[in-house]
C-alpha cells in the first residue's frame, strides 16, 4: 500500500472525556493508569538524592531543580501569559543578591532569608518590570534580555554589593539533606501549583491575555494587572532559585546574572515541551546533567545547547513531553484515506 493513501489516526483512550483534565474513570486500574506518570515524577524526584552516589551528583540535583524552577517560570510566562522573558538571570540575580545581603548583613538564618528573599525579590522584579508590561512579543523579550546585563553593569560601575568580587561568606544550609529536599519539594509544589493555577479562573484570564488581549480588555479587565500578577508568580520561582543558589555556593556575585540562567531554561523548555509545565522539568533533568558532564569544555557547552535549541525549535517544536503524552494517552493506527 503506498503512503499517500494512508494517514495516522489518533484516538484518545476511553478514560479521557471531552477535554483535557476531565476523565471518566471506571475502576482502580484506570485510576492507576492516570496517576502513574505523576507518581513517577514525584517519587523519582524524591528518590534522586537517595540513589545518587558521592558528594558531587547530589549537588547537581539541586542545580537541576533550580534550573527547573527557572524553566517553569519561563514556560509559564511565555506559553500561558504570552510574555517571552529572556531574562531568567534577572530573577536569579535579584533573589540571590537579596538572600546574600539578608544573610551577611542582617545575619538571618538561611531558612528565613530564602523565603524573605523570594517574596521581596518577586516584588522588586515585578516593580522593575512594571513599565515594560504593556509591551508584547519581541519588545518584551528585548527588554528582559537587557535587564540582567545592565544590572550587572550597574553593580560593576557603582561598585555596590561587593562590586566584582561579590558577596563572600554566605551561610550554607544546615545540612545537605535539608538542602536537597527543600529545593525538590518546593519545585514539586510549584510544578503542581502552576498546573492547577492555569486551570483556575485566573489561569483562563492569563491564557486569554496571551491569545487575545483586546478581548480581555473589552471584558473590562485590566490586562496589566494580570500580567503583573503572572510576573510576580514567575519571578518568585526565579528568586527562590537564586536565593537557594547563593546559599549552596556560599557566595553571591555578578555571575548570578550570567547568560546560563537565561538560555538553559529556555532550551530545557523547548526540549521538554513548551506549554506543558512538566516538560521544562524533564528538559532540565536531561540538559543539566549533560552540561555538567561537558563542564570541562568550558563555554563550548553553551554552544552545545544553543545548537540543540535551534534544532528543536526548527524541527521538533512540540518537545518530548507532548510527544510522550500523545503516545501515552492516545491510540494510533493507520487508516485508509
Amino acid at each position: 500500500m503506498n503512503m499517500e493513501n494512508r494517514r495516522k489516526e489518533r484516538i484518545d483512550r476511553g478514560i479521557k472525556v471531552r477535554s483535557d483534565g476531565l476523565y471518566a474513570l471506571m475502576g482502580w486500574q484506570e485510576l492507576c493508569y492516570l496517576t502513574l506518570p505523576r507518581f513517577v515524577l514525584i517519587a523519582g524526584l524524591l528518590a534522586l538524592p537517595l540513589i545518587m552516589p558521592g558528594m558531587y551528583w547530589p549537588r547537581v540535583i539541586t542545580i537541576v531543580c533550580i534550573y527547573a524552577l527557572l524553566a517553569l517560570s519561563f514556560d509559564f510566562l511565555a506559553h500561558f501569559v504570552g510574555l517571552v522573558s529572556l531574562g531568567g538571570a534577572f530573577f536569579i540575580g535579584t533573589g540571590g543578591y537579596l538572600a546574600a545581603i539578608l544573610n551577611t548583613s542582617f545575619g538571618m538564618h538561611p531558612m528565613l532569608a530564602i523565603p524573605i528573599a523570594t517574596f521581596a525579590g518577586a516584588i522588586i522584579c515585578t516593580i522593575l518590570l512594571l513599565p515594560c508590561l504593556p509591551l508584547r512579543g519581541v519588545y518584551f523579550a528585548i527588554v528582559t534580555l537587557m535587564y540582567p546585563l545592565v544590572l550587572a553593569r550597574i553593580i560593576e560601575a557603582l561598585d555596590i554589593f561587593g562590586g566584582t568580587d561579590g558577596i563572600l561568606g554566605v551561610d550554607s544550609f544546615p545540612n545537605a539533606w535539608l538542602e536537597q529536599y527543600f529545593v525538590i519539594i518546593v519545585l514539586l509544589l510549584f510544578v503542581f501549583g502552576a498546573r492547577r493555577l492555569v486551570n483556575q479562573d485566573i489561569g483562563l484570564v492569563f491564557r486569554a491575555v496571551k491569545d487575545n488581549d483586546q478581548a480581555v480588555r473589552a471584558s473590562g479587565m485590566n490586562v496589566n494587572t494580570y500580567k503583573a500578577a503572572a510576573v510576580f508568580i514567575a519571578s518568585a520561582m526565579g528568586c527562590f532559585g537564586g536565593a537557594c543558589l547563593v546559599h549552596i555556593y556560599m557566595w553571591g556575585g555578578i555571575s548570578l546574572f550570567a547568560l546560563d540562567f537565561s538560555i538553559l531554561p529556555i532550551a530545557a523548555t523547548v526540549i521538554g515541551g513548551a506549554g506543558t509545565l512538566v516538560g521544562p522539568v524533564l528538559g532540565c533533568l536531561i540538559l543539566v546533567p549533560i552540561s555538567e558532564l561537558l563542564r570541562e569544555f568550558g563555554t563550548l557547552r553553551i554552544v552545545f545547547y544553543s545548537l540543540i535549541l535551534v534544532g528543536f525549535v526548527v524541527f521538533r517544536s512540540e518537545g518530548i513531553m507532548v510527544y510522550g503524552e500523545q503516545k501515552y494517552h492516545q491510540f494510533e493506527r493507520w487508516v485508509k484515506v
Binding site: P134, I142, V150, I263, L309
Partner: protein, 288 residues
Amino acid sequence: MDILIYGIINSVMLALMALGFALVYGTSRIPNFAHGAIYVLCGFVAWFFVRSLELNYLLSVILSLLLIGLLGALIYRFVLIRVRGMNISEIIASYAIGLAIIETLRWGGFKGTTYTLPVIIEGGVMIGDIPVDYQRIFVVILGVAVVAFLWLFTHYTRIGLALRGMAQDERAALMLGIDSDTMAVVAMAFGCMLAGFAAIVILPLGNIVVEKGYDVLIQAIAVCIVGGLGSWMGAVLAAFIIGFAQILTTVYLGPQFQMVVAFLAIILTLILRPSGLFGQQKELEERV
C-alpha cells in the same frame, strides 16, 4: 568642541551597527538577535584574511563581507525560514544562533591584544585643537556613504524597491509577484554584510573582543527601538540622539555608564512611545 566631534563619530558608529538590524527587521519582521555575533564574527574573519593569510586589505574586506553575507543567507534559508511568523521561536532561534557563534569564538580563545584589524590610513589630524585619527574620520565618511548608498539602493534598484515594498505590506508585495522568501534572504544577507562592514570599519579602533557581540546587539536594538523598529531614517536619527547622550555621560559621569544610557533609552522609549520616533507600526499592534 570635542563633545561635538566625538559625538558625531560615536553616532555614526552606532548608526553603522544598527542599520543591518533595522534592515532585516524592517523587511522580514525577524528580530535578528544574532546581529552582534555576526559583527564580531566578521571582525575575526577579516582578521583571518588580513593577518593569517596576509591577503591584500581590500580583497580580504570584500571576501569577508561576501562570506558573512552568505552566512546570513544560509541562516535565514535553513533555520529562520521555518519559524517565520512565530514570534517566540524567531527570537529563540536567532538568539541561540548568536550565542553559539559568540561562545564558539570565546571557546576558541580569541582574546587578547593580538587580534587587531589594520586601519585604512595611519595617523591623525588636528581639528581645531582636538586630535582625531584618520580612521575615525573614515568611519564618518563611510557611514554617510553607506546611508546614501542604502537610500539610493532602496529607491532606484529593483531589489531595493522590492525590499521596501515588502517592508510596507508583505501581502500586497506578494500579489505583485515579489517572492517574500527570496527577498528576506536578500535582506538577511544585506543586513549581515552591513554588520560586517561596521565591524571592519569600527574594530580597527581597538582590539577584537568577543564580548563586543553583546554590546553591539544591545546598542543596535537601542537605536532601532528609539528610532522605531523598521524605520531606517529613524534609526539614523536615533543613532545621533543616543550617540550624543553616550558621549555626554562619558564626559560627565564616566565611561562605565555608556551601556546604561542605551538601556534607559530603550526603556523610556518603550514606555512613552513604543513605536519609536518614526515607527510605522500602529500603536495598537505592539502595545495593548
